[in-house]
Symmetry: C2
Subunit: 372 residues, 2 copies
């Protein structure tokens, strides 16, 4: 029997039933009609939309209403700096970059060193250091420095705390217990933290002195924060933020495996040596049949194959090409080794280029950071 | 039957049994031996010590150990800006001024606009405004601008939040429930707030980059904060702060009455027109007998007389004079009107001078404020 699904901002485990998440979280499906509207507004559809990697949303249609009227919206996403950045983390960031390009929008990017300090054995010094490391990965993706604002919670604490206390006044510990599963043994920093994450949805309005629509692209596990944020938004005189949710990239050990900074072989990190990344891919869980002869006869299963999943979710944007790979792998014409080779080449090239951009980002980081 | 005593940082009501508080809070009495040590170190004893207005402490003897070895300690006190400053508020500040003069110590003064916003119907804008109003009263008392550091929580939020999350990681909601009486219906801002108040005890060490002994003079209702602060101090590498606790000044309506910004007649505020303050005193609860003839015969009761209490606690420092007043009032030689007149004159003079200094403080406030 599959392990029971658990999806919270701090733990994702078991087999993920996305249909069930849409129902239990009370979000909306990304429908063909919605996709047509996005396509019309953007001029094209990002592959993560075409493939329903962004599968669920809250009020995305309202964001499009605003966009169609020529009203600006902004993007908000973030990262909990508990370790190095891996490929799963950058999925919503890649999507944000596309949204920024297509809709000429600002991005507010929160690095939650406070949260990761409060919810781990790491020191605040360490999560703060990791926040700036992770920021380099964001910048390396090519965001516009004029329209992209990154901040680290504790280094933007004056601005953030002031907004967060206003959120916090409207959120009881009961609510936080119900939404996040907090217990009496939860530390009071974690109890407060949802207010800090909610605060970012209101930050653009505070900085600009007027109500700004906000769209939050992020993995579905973050949705509990947006529920709380949306509950308090109008009480504070802001719009409810919209959200669009992506699925999770599986770990390298297979469909229900987890990527973890503490297990280097579970994920490809943006700082991996490209040759090491290749080795990880070669060892990764495969959907191929046991022997090459069997594989040629019965074919492989792309739906559980790590390499196929990484190509589908991140590294092969071209729908025709991914279809060809799928068919060839399924039929047995493409071996497990061959599909791994395709991914390895793409990952090696990505890492090489990303790491060069990441190195250059070290000299440009100040242009992106908001600080008190 | 007297109303049951309640002493929390947010509510003080009923008849206060200070002996019981020392036991239930687990603090130490200010003993004659301790007073002798303070007198030796300071060269004299402040009247609030001679009269046991500062009646209880934690580790005051350890502060004296440090002082005797020539090691510097600093002072920490504060104010929750929920309204104008009244005479009860300034009692520990007057004592701090004496300590600063005698021990050449720095004072860190926290203005908790976040707390008062989170625990009232006031807006953050309003509690922030009141914080700067209250700051003028602190400055007007004559503190050394080179050694006195005031800050408003939300305007020093970057520095404070960074320390507070480190405190918060070690305080569970269970602990906060037990110490402060929080409930599940408590908002998550209040749940976190004790970490902000604890943080100030570590601020001097953070700013100076070394462990600094801290003494906190404050009314006894604030002691729950210091219990939590002391519990986490050593885990974070700081000294446990010492504390010295004062009794409460009664409201103008009598011994168990409360001073409240929402009831102007309940207290003398530092911003009261001196003539209005005189009128309040004339209407205040008296310990005198019903008629003047009865008073002359039976005498008055200074222990419940508001005017006597205000003289004893704040306005008549001279032990000989206060003894004379007590005896004359008790014997009936001094009438209720006469004792009120003594107080009214002193209060009028204090307010006039304080308000002049308070006006001048408006031009000097920047020299005192810590901001991010």
């Amino acid at each position: 029997m599959a392990k029971e699904m658990k999806v919270t901002p701090w733990e994702v485990s078991g087999h993920i039933d996305y249909e069930k998440l849409v129902k239990s979280f009370g979000t909306q499906h990304v429908t063909p009609q919605l996709l047509r509207r996005i396509e019309k507004a953007a001029g094209e559809l990002h592959f993560m939309l075409r493939r329903k990697i962004f599968f669920s949303h809250r009020d995305m249609d309202w964001i499009l209403d605003k966009a169609e009227k020529g009203e600006k919206f902004v993007l908000y996403t973030g990262r909990g700096p508990s370790g190095d950045t891996h490929i799963g983390h950058i999925m919503p960031w890649i999507f944000c970059k596309w949204l920024q390009d297509k809709f000429d929008t600002e991005l507010y990017f929160q690095l939650t060193d406070d949260e990761k300090f409060l919810h781990s054995d790491l020191s605040l010094e360490e999560t703060n250091r990791l926040a700036y490391e992770n920021a380099l990965d964001v910048i390396a993706l090519g965001f516009d420095p004029e329209k992209t604002f990154l901040f680290v919670d504790t280094d933007y604490g004056k601005t953030m705390y002031k907004i967060a206390v206003q959120v916090a006044k409207h959120v009881t510990f009961s609510t936080a217990k119900a939404v996040f599963g907090f217990e009496n043994s939860t530390n009071i920093g974690m109890a407060f933290y949802p207010a800090m994450q909610a605060a970012t949805a209101f930050l653009p309005s505070v900085l600009k002195g007027k109500k700004i629509p906000v769209l939050i692209p992020a993995a579905i596990d973050q949705d509990p924060y947006w529920r709380v944020t949306r509950d308090v938004a109008e009480k504070l005189g802001y719009y409810k933020p919209a959200a669009i949710h992506n699925t999770f990239l599986p770990g390298l050990q297979g469909p229900d495996s987890k990527m973890s900074a503490s297990k280097p072989d579970s994920a490809i990190f943006t700082t991996d040596n490209p040759r090491d990344a290749r080795k990880k891919i070669m060892k990764a869980f495969s959907g191929g049949a046991g022997t090459l002869a069997e594989h040629r006869k019965h074919g492989g299963n792309p739906d559980v194959d790590t390499s196929y999943q990484y190509l589908y979710n991140v590294f092969e944007e071209d729908d025709e090409k991914i279809k060809e790979i799928r068919n060839a792998y399924k039929s047995g014409a493409m071996s497990a080794g061959e599909i791994k080779e395709i991914l390895a080449k793409k990952v090696e090239r990505f890492l090489k280029e990303h790491q060069e951009r990441r190195e250059r980002a070290k000299h440009r980081i100040d242009r992106f950071m908001l600080k008190d």
